[in-house]
């Protein structure tokens, strides 16, 4: 066995991969061989570290030096300075702010407040090596269940832990397993919902890419608990790296007898097959997902009957989200009390959030339930860039709502978010600042929903479209008195009468922005103004005649020749030709052009 004195961990998540991390790895291998260090230094491709804003990330152990924004051309320097001579390459070390030069991962603010449970192994192990997963207690939970617990005991452990579905529904996982376990003995199924369709969400992707075995182990544990010997992993096809890692993981697990027949010497068999999605957000809804696996058109059907009674192929089925599964092995190993000791009274454990939008530290964070929004955004997320003012945070993607500054101290958990008009959702958290127009945000999410609606039931198929038409009129300056009332009437009824969760939650972004930012809607409709200065149709670029020196630069750069005037005299913008691109304002050295 090679004895390595140093491990170089390179992030191989999708984000860093698209920033050339495979080339970084290649370069490391080349340079290490050149320096004769290939037997001492091990290069490891891991899953997502979470601090995506700083990627590609390279962490060198044992020092734990956290190099960020690494390029393949930086590699020779890291090898020759750090690995050969022991001198850290400080220009590449992650800097949280101007002063601090962080040298190791534990000291970074971004990680200090996190509690990584679902993400425990992400960024630590090589996801394509099953031995590394095993080294960190992998598959021990499965072994325990099969050799020491009866199925009902496993269900009881999950019930006691208080784990709730992490896909957005928040349904108590133990209870779901109980319902299915109670069904008579016949063919049953375990399905892992890895369709992750919310725009901006990539929690599940990182788990699948960085810790694939945790999901497999959990599915096997679930199968044992409810009496199923077959599992399906439904992954969206837009995640090719995740699919590849899962395929490798399944093969490796079979090799070692951790999937297949007679696991751990018991009579329990379990197999997992992968099924790919085909570009439909609605197939993340459990009934549509089932239809998709069955080869039918991805449309949900009414419940009852629920999947626990009649699911995939008409058989009792449990469907759980990737993140829900990722928690299972540790709950078994550490006991339900350990999990229940974290979080709030009704929302136990931690939650992974994907931070996006106007926030400094974009990336993946895992925090105990009950952490306040303020802590997430400012302490962990590093606050709003360019010193802008926080306006709202959107949770739950196209099904969720906006949380304004007045609720920044809300302790995040399932029920507290629903109480203020939003929802936990799968964990996407988009931060918005003063430059975001809340009406346009609602329009953006509704646009998504209209595109993704399956079209089966009339309120969602037609109603969301009509709501979108109203919003599009509003942001283009053609809003009318009565539009808000129309929106509310439609929203309430679409919410109340749609067939599935997509339709039932589609009006949420509109309802919550109306609740907290009604004044913005009214400004758009009555005053034909966008207070955030975002909606192009409601903006005018104007030249301040007092400030304009008549240099003519703006006229030269205007793509539509909308600006005219005589040199040394104030110029003027022809509003009918102006396309509001803003180039003139950016080029004016005299600050004579303003946006109103």
């Amino acid at each position: 066995m090679d004895i390595f004195r140093s491990h170089v961990l390179v992030c191989g998540g999708t984000g860093c991969t698209s920033s050339e991390s495979p080339k970084i790895i290649e370069s490391f291998n080349e340079e290490l061989t050149k320096a004769g260090l290939e037997k001492e230094v091990k290069v490891v491709k891991t899953g997502c570290f979470g601090l995506c804003e700083a990627g590609p990330i390279v962490i060198v152990y044992p020092e734990g030096s956290f190099y960020s924004r690494v390029k393949p051309s930086d590699v020779p320097e890291i090898v020759n300075e750090h690995l050969l001579k022991g001198r850290l390459v400080s220009r590449l070390l992650y800097k949280a702010d101007a002063q601090g030069i962080e040298t190791s991962i534990e000291n970074i603010d971004f990680y200090k407040k996190q509690k990584r449970i679902a993400l425990k192994n992400c960024g630590v192990i090589d996801p394509e090596k099953i031995e590394e997963y095993i080294a960190l207690d992998g598959y021990k939970a499965l072994g325990l269940c099969l050799t020491e617990y009866k199925p009902q005991q496993v269900i009881d452990i999950i019930k006691e832990s208080g784990l709730r579905g992490r896909g957005g529904g928040g349904f108590p996982t133990g209870l779901k397993w109980q319902f299915c376990g109670d069904e008579a003995n016949e063919q049953k199924y375990v399905v892992c919902n890895a369709d992750e369709g919310d725009p901006g969400a990539f929690m599940d992707r990182s788990v699948l890419e960085g810790d694939p075995h945790a999901v497999l182990e959990a599915m096997a544990i679930a199968g044992y608990a409810i009496g199923a010997n077959m599992g399906y992993l439904y992954v969206r096809a837009e995640y090719p790296i995740a699919v590849k890692r899962m395929e490798i993981a399944i093969a490796q697990a079979h090799e070692l007898g951790l999937l297949g027949k007679g696991l751990f010497g018991s009579g329990f068999d379990f197999n997992v097959e992968i099924r790919l999605g085909a570009g439909a957000f609605v197939c993340g809804e459990e009934m549509a997902l089932i239809a998709s696996i069955e080869g039918r058109r991805g449309e949900p059907r009414s419940k009852p009957p629920f999947p626990a009674q009649k699911g995939l192929f008409g058989k009792p089925t449990i469907i759980n989200n990737v993140e829900t599964f990722a928690n299972i092995p540790q709950i078994i190993l550490n006991g339900p009390a350990w999990f229940a000791s974290m979080g709030t009274e009704k929302s136990k454990g931690t939650k992974v959030f994907a931070l996006g939008g106007k926030i400094n530290n974009t990336g993946l964070v895992e925090i105990p339930m009950g952490t306040t929004l303020r802590e997430i955004i400012f302490d962990i997320g590093g606050g709003i860039p360019e010193g802008k003012k926080f306006k709202a945070a959107q949770t739950g993607g196209p099904s969720g709502g906006c949380i304004p500054a007045s609720h920044l101290d809300t302790h995040i958990d399932y029920d507290s978010l629903t109480a203020i008009g939003s929802m936990m959702g799968s964990g996407g958290l988009i931060v918005m600042d003063e430059d975001n127009c809340m009406v346009d945000v609602a329009r953006y999410f509704l646009d998504f929903t209209v595109d993704e609606s399956c079209g089966q039931c009339s309120p969602c198929r037609i109603g969301t479209k009509r709501m979108l038409e109203i919003l599009e009129r509003i942001v283009s300056g053609q809003g009318e008195e009565g539009d808000i009332e129309k929106l509310e009437r439609l929203a309430v009824n679409i919410k109340g009468s749609s067939l599935c969760g997509l339709g039932k939650t589609a009006p949420n972004p509109v309802l919550s922005t109306l609740k907290y930012f009604r004044d913005e809607y009214e400004a758009h409709i009555r005053d034909k103004k966008c207070p955030a200065g975002h909606c192009k149709a409601l903006l005018s670029y104007m030249i301040d005649k007092k400030m304009c020196v008549g240099c003519g630069v703006c006229a030269k750069v205007c793509p539509t020749n909308a600006i005219s005037g005589k040199i040394k005299e104030p110029f003027e913008i022809d509003q009918s030709k102006c396309i509001k691109c803003g180039v003139c304002m950016s080029k004016c050295k005299f600050g004579a052009i303003e946006k109103k």
Binding site: R5, Y61, V124, A135, G257, F264
Partner: protein, 127 residues
């Protein structure tokens, strides 16, 4: 996989591969690997330490390198940081001395006094 015991075996074998990545509360052995150190022969010392730690399957012990520690005439220098006691600096370390350091200090908790910088200075003054 036929039993938890079989799993445990794989785990133990793989553990040392991973161990390095946990910044734990264990013992850190740091070898000065600046130009002076390398010139004085610090590489073989590093290798010897790594091999010895591995051979003994010591967990929570990391061996890493650092830049110039400062006392260049005393290279190769090895510093040992333990959570429970004060830092110990060994000077003019040779690969053979590495073995005793690991055995007596790291494993048994008794620093090898005659290799330390304090002892060395005393010897020098005593002359």
């Amino acid at each position: 996989m036929k039993s938890l015991k079989e799993l445990e075996e794989i785990r133990n074998k793989a553990l040392c591969q991973i161990d390095l990545r946990k910044k734990g509360e264990g013992i850190r052995i740091v070898v000065g690997m600046a130009t002076c150190g390398i010139a004085a022969g610090a590489r073989p010392v590093l290798s010897a330490l790594v091999e010895e730690v591995s051979r003994r399957k010591l967990s929570n012990v990391t061996v890493s390198q650092t830049g110039c520690i400062g006392a260049c005439r005393l290279e190769p220098i090895v510093e040992v940081y333990s959570p429970s006691s004060e830092k110990v600096t060994y000077v003019k370390v040779s690969p053979q001395m590495a073995g005793r350091i690991v055995a007596e200090h790291i494993v048994n908790g008794n620093p090898v006094t005659e290799f330390t910088i304090g002892y060395h200075e005393q010897q020098q003054q005593g002359r």
